[in-house]
Subunit: 418 residues, 4 copies
């Protein structure tokens, strides 16, 4: 049985070796005969409520989840979780120090990385150490903008056109609404997508030192409320988000413009340092990346890079960012070249880093401590954190590309994993 | 100053309001004059080593990071982290129970979700409760395959062609090598991409109950070693991974075929339950999603969905999966329709769920406890976990789409966030 | 031999059934032993030169290619072709009239379509007739911009940053250079992409009634020359196009913004007309398109549509547009819905229509005649032509979707093809 | 008025400078008051019918469109067009000879190119001459497959699953149906996409020497008819094409697998020939392409290449291929490197070349003459034509990249265009 068909058939054969098709269909059949009561939703977080939650699970509290530390801090989690039963503990390692020469970040940063993947911290640490030895990265925050894209439905395109004209005229009103809603965010621009009788406005905000997803939602809601009350024509439907903003997704729109913070970081490294830290030559790295960049292009990714997601996820988790944003942030471009003087030139550009230093999970105990370790907790630090983040990803690219270029990748993983 | 140019100019103006261009350029200049010693890499995890790590950071151990629980378990983290300094604690909530009628998953599952994002657990919980009330999802694991794609460089395409012919003939040898390397994984197929004098082989493995990234790397390394020793012609370069596998990236290749586990899940829900749980009508949901699906298409995502990444990240973290895989897993299709009888039909299809129930972070204390809570820890459970995961994402789509369709999204976030 | 491997193996087996691997490799070997003189390049087009070209091919002129009509017009082709040997004749059919209610296009247009694909004209004609009967499309030109994106290479990102600051300050100079280069084009905006030590400027021009690719190239060259002479710092390399413009390619950037002309067109059609012209019901069309839109999403296209490329290619060829631009233009979104009153609502949005009514091939004899048939030859007509083009694509979507929804697609093709 | 908003506003200002919003809305309003009779559809092509078609346009036949040559051949167009009014004449130039050392193509080919774009033929000619001087390309047809993807709708996923199991069992029946429908095509494989209660089967055919779109449609229709009659369960809807096949679209699925013919071609060229033919050095080309490849990646294209669409469109038109297929074919990868010996290595890989040497427009008079000029008309030549096509695109990449690398691109276009 040849070809793609066999992929399906192999799967079916596996299934049919145990069950008949009727038995399988039976398995998929909804069961409404045995009702089950949902756990009571619980938004208030106290020790008593936590115990009640465990009881509704018919379990005694697990010490691994509801440990004494978590118990003692229980009320600090209020506002970050519902149906609380304890905490997940992710091992935290530290890489670096990573020297960053940025528009905003300046200095040698310890990098807290929360992960359960063996070799990840070691790999980023190796790259960070090399970068620091070479004088650090140059890193530039290029732009920042967080968007919400409400959708408006009209009877016909004539309605769409009239509305767009009106909305453009009322931009200053929308800015005032934003200003009266938040002190930290600012409405800076709006894109317009008219598709037949649909209009999607793409509001772009700056969000201060917060990552800002909630802030922009609330501002956009107020603008939508204003539109609903003041627009002189008929709008069939108003939705605060029309799924055009790229929120929590790798999207072409975010990739070709910006979502969150767009940063480029580079480093130039003499060959002896490459030898010392990576046991490789610049030529080996460049030769490998040439093959690997084509591999990425052939696989059809947005941008071409090695493993941005690894560093992003570990740093996001460690510092209380929204880990789901890894989906939208792990896009961009890695580049490796040899300079005229035989050094290695390496650069990364990431269009959608989603980080904040206030709000979200940044105030949780261990996450705040991690940001403090970096000296980046609180107001005035988000731009620096984004530049550090890009520099970290550059460190990770250097390290993994060296491992793959010199065929030590497998060994490193084998040795460090259990 | 109109147009896109103004986006750049605004950013430059902000910068120049504080610094001259020379000052800014100075900030970016590498600094090799003040050397810094990297923290000693540390792979062995003991209490003493952890304290040493803190000393190399010039800090006393933070109680929020190196708490007594983490201290008492310190050696359990060996093999999952390097340069260990403690743990990050992510609040853990539970949604459900979620009823799944799958080929592999059968029953009412509590869903542990680790997140710091307000409203996330509440939203998934609402969707899960609704699904359970409607009899549960039908969920089908469609395929599974994890790939590694080594790259081979030849002098010319003639070399590429000869090698492909040889490799196809030696597939059984590659299978034997795999069989002698792991008891859990199996080499099941190989794709071939010839691009000039490059060849990328795309080995597809099943990985038993592990997510399996390390397993397939080691097997592929062994195959590459065999090729290096036995191929009668000249291979200029062999690389164990040529960046074609889609590892840690949203890729067209993974999206159109499979990476990890491909699952489709559906549910049919009568209007009264939609009313009771979501305070909405099927028409409202379908009307919103029609607009929103177009929004997704206009933003240029692979697939069209609402917020897969939220549920994925929270479940991955809670159960010890690799959180970086959110980047590759958060693709797929959500569909909402009204049936002839007026019910709501909703379905999700996700081509690249990366989950295991052994290995990786699944054995860490709190993560293992979370899997045990679901009854899905250890061998024989990975396929069920994938079906539960898809069902969870369906729950999340139902809930967020209802919130956006009825304009309660903002209020929910406002109320639940601090 | 199962799976993907068998796809490669089947191909290899076919080859090896006839030749050994050495024979195959021999076939691929370059042959430098038998030199061949290239045909003399010939840019001047006269009858004598044309005959000389045929002689260099060792052939007598083919009457099918160098017919008497082509011979009599030979000098009209000067400036549109080199190494001229005659003409390719594409059958030309006419669809319509197509009623367009646009911002620029107003009236009932005959649509010339050059194609060799059976059923194509008949299908577009059917859709156009239906639209006209329903009162015509509403069509809006949304934006227009044609871009060139020169690339600049610097020693480091500090150089990139300095250059961007300088370039933003000199935008008015760039506009003046443009104004002194062309009367028809205008430099309206510039986007900036900084990637490490690379900068890509994305100049956006309006191009009057020409499609304008040459115009924007020449203007950009002059700007680059100005930069080379006037920039006070060091630029390692300047390239007039850095492959970022999306020229001749389906690109995310063009798709999410605009390249050429962006147009949305819609029509609302009562059920009886759907019945009369398409022998279908609105529900049938909407049901089919729902399945088919998901099919498009699953296949991973930019946008979701049925067959934009068919109408685009046929209209582009008939009216002297650049047929290669089909690659960049055939993206966008088709939408079908049922209105509250039971009518069919249909809309298309196309972000990158590349049409002109002067320049390029628009002045060639048969192409000019086709534009004149539409009343759209020459200055002042390009915007109308773009709205007609979008309306035509809407007609095509209506017709093919009806054919596929009612299972008459195959029959129509069978009957009309030879 | 800054930012993106100004793009919309500028457009609105232009409009409002001439018309009020009410006047603009009025322009878009459908007009059902002045009915217009559609031209009579006309599928039979005779001189009389052609004149009747012109009369229905209220015109006398244009001599540029309905010239004496077209009149004399009128009946040869039967089956390729409807509503015939004459022909569009595209200037035809010839490039080459192009030496191809392929698995199927062997020899020095003149390349007919139909285009109205100045410099296109000259550019491809230059590249072809260089390649021939270097001994020709090596070119490998890698695979071939043309697909149709019918869609099947079920009440629930249980229905989908049952159907897939049945369909896999009946593959041989589908092959027999194909065999009894066509002598030239063969059903070789089937992919399966299950998405909730939808199933898309992706039938892959070989199509002999025809491009084969009609052939695979008819075969798939017969298979669907068989399924409708023989499937024991309930299928809600059957559609012969569910828009998953990538027909006439750049799709991720075609890009990562194959649609039509997948070919890789390479050439290695000594520096002196680069100097002689392109007045450049290998380093200049490689330096430029490195910048340009990143430009392509940043713009978000599938694959990275320079201008495949130009050569494709010109060759497709000249040889009677379906010009709309440029949309699906213009994807792939270009690669430039310097070899250890200082030569230039260049390669292209194109996954979806859609060419035939019988059927479609290949039998039209001038198109057939063009294929005969190449020695590739009729049976047994399609695979060779695909290898020539890929080699041509490689020639075009060499030439344009040299022009852009040496800053002669603009001058060449300026000089050759009118």
């Amino acid at each position: 049985m040849p070809g793609k068909r066999s992929l399906t058939s192999r799967h079916l054969d596996d299934l049919f070796s145990q069950y008949s098709i009727d038995e399988l269909a039976e398995k998929l059949t909804p069961d409404t005969t045995s009702p089950h009561v949902p756990y009571l939703p619980n938004t208030k977080i106290t020790d008593a409520r936590t115990h009640r939650m465990w009881r509704s699970l018919d379990k005694t509290p697990s010490e691994e989840i509801y440990d004494t530390w978590s118990q003692s801090k229980v009320e600090t989690f209020q506002g970050n979780i519902e149906n609380f039963i304890g905490t997940t503990k992710i091992p935290l390692g530290v890489a670096g120090p990573l020297r960053v020469n940025g528009l905003f970040a300046q200095g040698d940063y310890p990098i807290p990385l929360a992960t359960s993947e063996a070799a990840l911290v070691a790999s980023y640490h190796r790259g960070a150490s090399l970068i620091t030895a070479a004088g650090g990265t140059s890193a530039m925050l290029l732009y920042q903008a967080l968007n919400r894209s409400p959708a408006f439905v009209f009877e016909s395109m004539r309605g769409s056109g009239r509305f767009v004209a009106w909305a453009m005229e009322h931009f200053e009103n929308f800015q005032q609404i934003t200003a009266s809603t938040t002190q930290h965010g600012k409405l800076v621009d709006v894109g317009t997508t008219l598709e037949g009788n649909h209009v999607y406005l793409d509001f772009e905000f700056t969000t201060g030192d917060a990552s800002g997803q909630n802030m922009v939602t609330i501002c956009t809601q107020h603008i939508c409320d204003y539109i609903a009350e003041n627009y002189p024509g008929t709008i069939e439907q108003i939705y605060v988000e029309g799924n055009l903003s790229g929120d929590k997704k790798a999207s072409a729109q975010s990739y070709t413009s910006v979502r969150g913070k767009k940063v480029s970081a580079e480093v130039e490294i003499p060959a002896p340092l490459i030898k010392k830290y990576l046991n490789a030559t610049p030529t080996q790295l460049v030769d490998y990346w040439r093959v690997s960049a084509i591999g990425g292009v052939l696989s059809g990714t947005m941008g071409v890079q090695g493993h941005f997601a690894n560093g992003l996820a570990a740093l996001y988790i460690a510092t209380g960012q929204d880990a789901a944003c890894v989906a939208e942030s792990a896009m961009g471009v890695t580049r490796f070249e040899i300079t005229k003087t035989g050094n290695l030139y390496a650069a990364v550009t990431i269009p959608s880093i989603m980080v904040g230093t206030v709000g979200g999970g940044t105030g949780l105990p261990s996450q705040k401590a991690a940001l403090e370790l970096m000296g980046l907790y609180g107001s005035g630090n988000a731009e620096a954190l984004a530049e550090v983040c890009a520099s970290l990803l550059l460190a990770g690219e250097l390290s993994i590309i060296a491992a793959l270029a010199t065929n030590t990748f497998t060994r490193a993983h084998h040795k460090l994993a259990r």
